[in-house]
Symmetry: D2
Subunit: 396 residues, 4 copies
């Protein structure tokens, strides 16, 4: 492994939210530990570190309540930084959670006027997204949920959620924007329970929309792990549905509050399988880091943390590639019959009399199947998994 | 609350799996504590307790490996018990997890011959389901999963899963059976991670099938709670998609091993909101208990536990009805603006110039919206939730 | 149940932290939703609601950085409110977590000067505690922990923790204060992992101190439940060790971020068993509510939430008393052999030849023990638990 | 890293339970997938793989209900295998959970005769432990717990637990056995909640015993992780109390059912910090693997899995040593002020007027302390943690 191969470069498509390196460290029990960070400095520093772009919520760049003039000035200055550095903005999103007006939600707030305000706030920022050339618009409904059972009629709330996404879809279509939406699921925090809590729930919801083709998901490592779910499995299902429009990479140490550790921290083995999947499945989107440098850190620590995200991705990418290229691994995969999983369960012969007829007529499939002999076959998964461990740890 | 109103009767549609009262208490660390239970006795006892029907896996009634003659005799004797008692069998399912041949899965086993065997085993039991008049066929893929990252290519496994459900759908359609499938999600146990881990993932998967209309979900209380998810929220989403084909009621005390406590045990407040939802949403299917009487119990304890499931449902049903009927609750719901959640976010006026034009032109929605004033409005959820608590506890 | 019996009164010893009703609703993703609350108003309102007293961190009453003159004025005004209302301050504590100087801990911060500052800040507030007649001084070390493995040498940190508590113990002893310490455990949040994460770890630590007799624990419902632990079990062990010096009552819906719901919300059945335990075990200390009214609420909701905490405690107290008084319950407890659990395992006869000799000589205990017959005895726990459910729900 | 350094040898003190490689794969939902394994074969195979010894429950070697003659023959044959291979038996334990007689516990069963039987069963096997030269006797009370609140009076149960350990301590003392006890905590499974659920609770309990000096803990990786606790932190506290008498190494992927994966699988980063701690703290006891080869495996997989446990330990041991030896790491540790954590908070100067006087008189500690300046110091933990990651992954 050469140091060159571990050097981030724009072609790796590493992106960072302005709110990540710019997080000041305010948490439920403590005040900010870091001074505010100028978005332009973020662009410059991240560019120097090898990133491809930045992403942001409207309010990250343009403080809530700014006048149009202030807004224009901020956007202009920011665009100059992008132009100077060559950094991109492949994704934008809306902050529908910080201001107290969103305390009961945005698209599904019980108050109708709050819902309308939320839609307008989103539409406004979609224009900026299009203007800046973003191709993905993320929607994290962090406040869409409840702490108590009577406070939200979930079926009605889903009606309102659908109404919102149908409207947004209509807008980008009418405007001709080259923009797709990515719903970001999360099970809880800051609400006791959040609607569309997992990748699965979001994928199901999307199918009910008027324009399901332009809506996908933006899964976040820690969010799924907060529900104890296997993140690479969730990503695989999102890919299988053709819906992995964007991804949020970070780290989490199990089921607890949302940690947003740097990528690689937390469940390292899961991170290995995730990178293996993204790289072999041909995912072309940004590798977007949505992390929070711990509030113990000053800005040196912030940049070290950001650099660590990218470094860990690149290390894991090399290790996963070596794993897949190893002939012993390939033999182990065959020993575990991964090749057989690739074969349709119904074969050519089954389809002669219709798909079912062949199977039903095949006595070797049931009547004459030696169940006990089949049951005795070992799957050889432990040997395969140890090979993966060896590659991850670099001992082969 | 009268004792009559708490007496289970067939119209309540309470059903039990044969494997529930018949569980012998074998667990990962201990041997059986109860002798085997004759399915006919289960039918008789459950009928006496007021149940509407029983459900079963093929192997619950007909031991794995029985001859055709044995099978016929067992089915005949079982049908006689049903006829005598008037008990129904609204749901059947397949055991694709106990025999070691399924150790790596059934529909998604890496071994193709195991997959074919699993399909045949299922098709055979579907015939019995149709014969017995079942309307729902549940599919719990408890072994479809993995303990290590290389052992399963999830995208290929989903291909095989889709292939299986498409085939089963074709079969019941061709045969003209009045039978719908219900996929039962579970996040883990007995596999480290199971495919289609939550209601959401299952709903998303169903949309990819050839016959999505005849496939729904069979959510189980404890399974979703093992992922820390809000069960009534998941049920609400399943109802919203029109996919709540069946339901498994039991209890679970948080994120841990699958406990299968009797209904009401575990998260009681969640059970209250669940019953409230099922009863107000017009769910017409069976109230199916999928629980395990703790292995500390002898058969007296088993029947006490089964009776407790039904009793707790009926108590909660009365309490939920009283909650909804209470004028003070109705006022509290309005104070929390649940009525506003029922209103479309876009109104009549918005649609004059197209749905978007009205909203975009409405200055009161954004430019002139008094965000701070709106933010100050309390949601009054705590008062509402205490009313619910009072009703649950019977102190109003 | 009469409305009188559900009316909170000082003899119930209900206390509230100033930081609870005074929480402004700032969370990791959102700004404050409520204006600051004057501590004097909290005293007045809580007194009207029937509370016995209030508790506070130094900074709750006296903003960090106040001058001595400001401090004196604030304390004086506060004491007047106490005198007027008759409210007490049975517990005080130190804020060692909000200011960024504590970002890596207080008593176990890597920086020695921070540790010294933390001790001085604590000593100063202990003087105030003694002055106000508090008998318990709580120590929640919310920042004593780490997010990464190398950042904290836990054994050294425990040395520093012990040094701090030994010093504090020496101080109150030298000063002759009638004050005992109560360590409040928490597994995580705001740190990735916090030292002394559970009641058990804190109890073990206390045994290593110079003055273990004046140090006990202050368990909080939600904190133990964030580790999936059974709260009444933990309280029972604390009582067994004679170490339940104080208690924090609130609600939590499983393993996730720290929710601080009002008491009764969350795991209601666990709350029932907790109240049953506290009331039957003769716990004499305050029933202290450490909750956060959800940020969806305005101040009407805050007071409704506070009232709900007390109301739910009183409902559960009545229900638990009725459970214990019910002859059918007493019979069920005997059927479950709770009376046998109260008998020593070794009996009179065993001690004739020394405790062991009798047991070893008793052939009925082993050689002639009919294991299979004993194994067949049912424990009758399900019937007992349903009686508890019936009492909790008020249907008996 | 040489292949030699990764070759297990007796000096590494790797031990395995007979029940680990001998687990037949029976789980809550499935039958055994592997034939029984002769304990002698386990001794031979593990010896060939480089292990130092084996451990066992009485029933692992001598089936429950064996006659004395059968017992003697089995022990004799087993001892021959030990003698032939040079394998040791440093730990023994009692099976107090498999037989249905223990369904409600052993030392704390409600039934007194079951408690007496459990003690006698344990005493008998302690004799064998002494005979075989074991120095540690593990006590896992897997059935000591409850599924419902009324079923167990925890304070009484702790009385019975103390009675049992006091008796066992008396026995080994009277007999002059060189044997210490190690309590193994677990939060749940197979009981809904188990008594002494964590390392902390067990450490606290031990302090209440008559002979606390001969009782320590046997923490298991997965058990603490099932409560979401940081395992190295728990081990550090056990070491700090001088109570790490034994350890169970395995893997677990978060809060769910007890997985018993091979060591290294699951949370790899935690395993790194654990090995770092054990090796630097001078832990001298066995590195005992308590894992279950997944039931997908045949015996080739079982031995591959056992070999993987040892291999992963040795890899991590080398990586941890390199981390500690790296000058850049040492500088990073200083930058994070780990050296300051090693300094007493009170210094020489403080003790002139008594420990407190110096601190109270030190204006630099409080009055003149520049809190804001101190708050601005970054802790440099992210850089340190990335160095640890680099060493773990072998990229330095």
């Amino acid at each position: 492994m050469t140091s060159e191969s571990l050097t981030p470069a724009p072609e790796h498509k590493f992106t960072f939210g302005l709110w990540t390196v710019g997080w000041q460290g305010r948490d439920p029990f403590g005040d900010a530990t870091r001074a505010p960070l100028d978005p332009v400095e973020s662009v410059n520093r991240l560019s120097e570190l090898g990133a491809y772009g930045v992403t942001f919520h409207d309010d990250d760049l343009i403080p809530f309540g700014s006048t149009d003039a202030e807004r224009d000035a901020l956007v202009k200055r920011f665009r100059q930084a992008l132009d100077t550095t060559g950094m991109t903005t492949p994704m934008l999103t809306t902050n529908l959670f910080t201001h107290p007006v969103f305390k009961d939600g945005a698209f599904t707030a019980n108050d109708r006027d709050v819902r309308r305000f939320a839609l307008r706030k989103t539409l406004r920022n979609i224009d900026l997204a299009a203007e800046l050339g973003a191709e993905t618009y993320v929607a994290w409904g962090g406040r869409e949920g409840a702490e108590s059972g009577g406070a939200k009629d979930v079926r009605l709330a889903l009606d309102r959620m659908k109404e919102a996404f149908d409207l947004l879809g209509e807008y980008v279509t009418e405007q001709g924007y080259n923009l797709r939406f990515a719903v970001e699921p999360k099970p809880n925090e800051p609400r006791g329970d959040i609607l569309l809590p997992t990748v699965g729930h979001a994928l199901a919801f999307i199918n009910s929309l008027e324009r399901p083709d332009i809506v996908g998901v933006n899964p976040e490592v820690g969010h799924e792990q907060m529900a104890g779910l296997n993140f690479p499995h969730g990503i695989a299902q999102a890919l299988w549905h053709g819906k992995l429009f964007h991804i949020d990479l970070n780290g989490q140490t199990g089921i607890k509050y949302d940690q947003d550790l740097r990528f690689g921290a937390g469940d390292l083995r899961s991170a290995f399988w995730l990178v293996d999947l993204l790289e072999t499945a041909g995912y072309q989107g940004p590798r977007h880091f949505d992390f929070k440098p711990p509030r113990t850190e000053d800005y040196d620590g912030v940049w070290a943390s950001a650099a660590g995200c990218m470094r860990n991705y690149l290390i894991l990418k090399e290790r996963a590639a070596a794993f897949r290229a190893d002939p012993e691994v390939q033999a182990a995969l065959r020993a575990s019959r991964l090749d057989e999983l690739a074969l349709p369960t119904l074969g050519e012969q089954d389809t002669l009399g219709g798909r079912l007829a062949g199977l039903l007529a095949d006595r070797s499939a049931y009547e004459d199947f030696d169940v006990e002999a089949a049951a005795e076959r070992g799957m050889a998964f432990e040997a395969l998994d140890q090979l993966a461990m060896d590659h991850l740890l670099g001992v082969r």
